[in-house]
Amino acid sequence: MTTTSEPLIVLEGVNKHFGPLHVLRDVDLSVARGEVVVVIGPSGSGKSTLCRAINRLEPIDAGTITFDGRPLPAEGKSLARLRSEVGMVFQSFNLFAHKTILQNVMLGPVKVRKEKPAAVRDRAMGLLERVGIASQAEKFPAQLSGGQQQRVAIARALAMQPKALLFDEPTSALDPEMVGEVLDVMTSLAREGMTMVVVTHEMGFARHAANRVVFMADGQLVEQAEPEEFFANPRSDRAKDFLSKILTH
């Protein structure tokens, strides 16, 4: 382990366009080891793109992103290696539909890291136990509820023993009664010191689990603060407007 206090993820002057749309505008952000950063903001503000840029699922047009002291590789083996160190949890779960739950969790360590299947199996079962799905290990993703699938997706990401986890609206596709079970897992990860970047609309999670809230609008990082400070005293008009719309219901 490195003992430096240098941040794990650093974005500097990041810009990204989708055609004429300027989705990320001069974004600077750094995330310390063990920090939980929640990114909130209105739809289309660039939150998801920001999250996906960190493991280069979205390439950026300008600026730099460094992870663990190294700039993000453009492609090839070194990019694949970086991605294996950054777990990602998607809005639509994206579990491998033709593989069982256990195979989903084991595939990365066995195929990417070339670890021994027997050892990976134990670790995978342990992770499934932890997220409460161990009894479903032999089922296929379509046989599970959305909340269960998302917990498997978290276990799949954890199986790679990542240095950081990215969550791209992990509860937005879930029925309301299943949101809690996913947030519980995420909260316990946050408590254990996992570095997390979480794009979400769950203000409750932002309040109690985040170290820092980042507010985005129109591709810009408008303000960032500790959750209590942000929710009690938002400084920008955009944030005030956003919070007034979501917190009055």
Binding site: N55, L57, K77, A80, R81, L82, R83, S84, E85, V86, G87, M88, F90, S92, N94, L95, F96, A97, H98, L107, G108, K111, V112, R113, F140, A142, Q143, A153, R156, A157, M160
Partner: protein, 224 residues
């Protein structure tokens, strides 16, 4: 039906269909492997490979199979001297397999490519996100799901391949249609029965094949 009591005629019949069976099996393997490779090329991030795959499909899918088989014989064998076996029948057989494979691979490629389009983009993203390379993503995640989605169309291609293999008769292999022609020439009084027996044999084998692929397609379908 005296025709089919003569042992010589029976042998003509069975030899003909054995060639068809061998052509179908060999060309199915050849076009299957080639078709998957071509589909991989057509979705690859490398422009040269994409262009190669597209070129292959456009050339071979739009050229009549008879011309391709003729080219294998008169072009590859007669003009360029490519000899695939010492035995004349076996040489014609392998030339036929080459022609059938390059032709059918174009259709297999397009079927698999349409299957790839049924796999949600999130599947490949999730694979890349855990650090898989392009080839791993294709081999472990995308192609297995794409393949299951196109089992029924692949069955249709196999059936077409089986019937198309009669065209190898044009370069001198005694496959079933040539066998039928010979029997008809020798037994002008039994044209209709001979025809019905040969056509019926194809139907008896191929109709269940079609149902089998339909059943397999349902059984292996990926639930989403």
């Amino acid at each position: 039906m005296d025709v089919f009591t003569d042992p010589d005629n029976i042998e003509t019949y069975t030899t003909g269909f054995l060639w068809i069976l061998k052509l179908t099996v060999a060309a199915a393997i050849g076009s299957g492997v080639l078709g998957v490779l071509l589909a991989g090329m057509r979705v690859s991030p490398v422009p040269v490979l994409r262009a190669f795959g597209t070129g292959w499909v456009n050339v071979f899918r739009n050229t009549p199979l008879t011309l391709i088989i003729f080219f294998c014989y008169f072009g590859l064998y007669s003009a360029l001297g490519l000899e695939l076996a010492d035995d004349i029948d076996l040489n014609n057989f392998w030339l036929g397999v080459v022609g059938l494979s390059v032709y059918t691979a174009a259709f297999v490629c397009e079927a698999i490519r349409s299957g790839i389009n049924t796999v949600p983009v999130g599947q490949a993203e999730a694979a890349r996100a855990i650090g898989m390379s392009f080839l791993q993503t294709l081999r472990l995640i995308v192609l297995p799901q794409a393949g299951r989605a196109v089992i029924a169309p692949l069955g249709s291609i196999l059936i077409a391949l089986c019937k198309n293999s009669t065209i190898v008769g044009t370069i001198g292999l005694m496959e079933s249609s040539t066998a039928m022609k010979d029997l008809i020439n020798a037994n002008g009084d039994a044209v209709i029965p001979i025809f019905l027996v040969f056509a019926g044999t194809f139907a008896v084998v191929l109709i269940p094949t079609g149902y089998f692929f339909g059943w397999l397609s349902n059984r292996l379908a990926v639930k989403r």
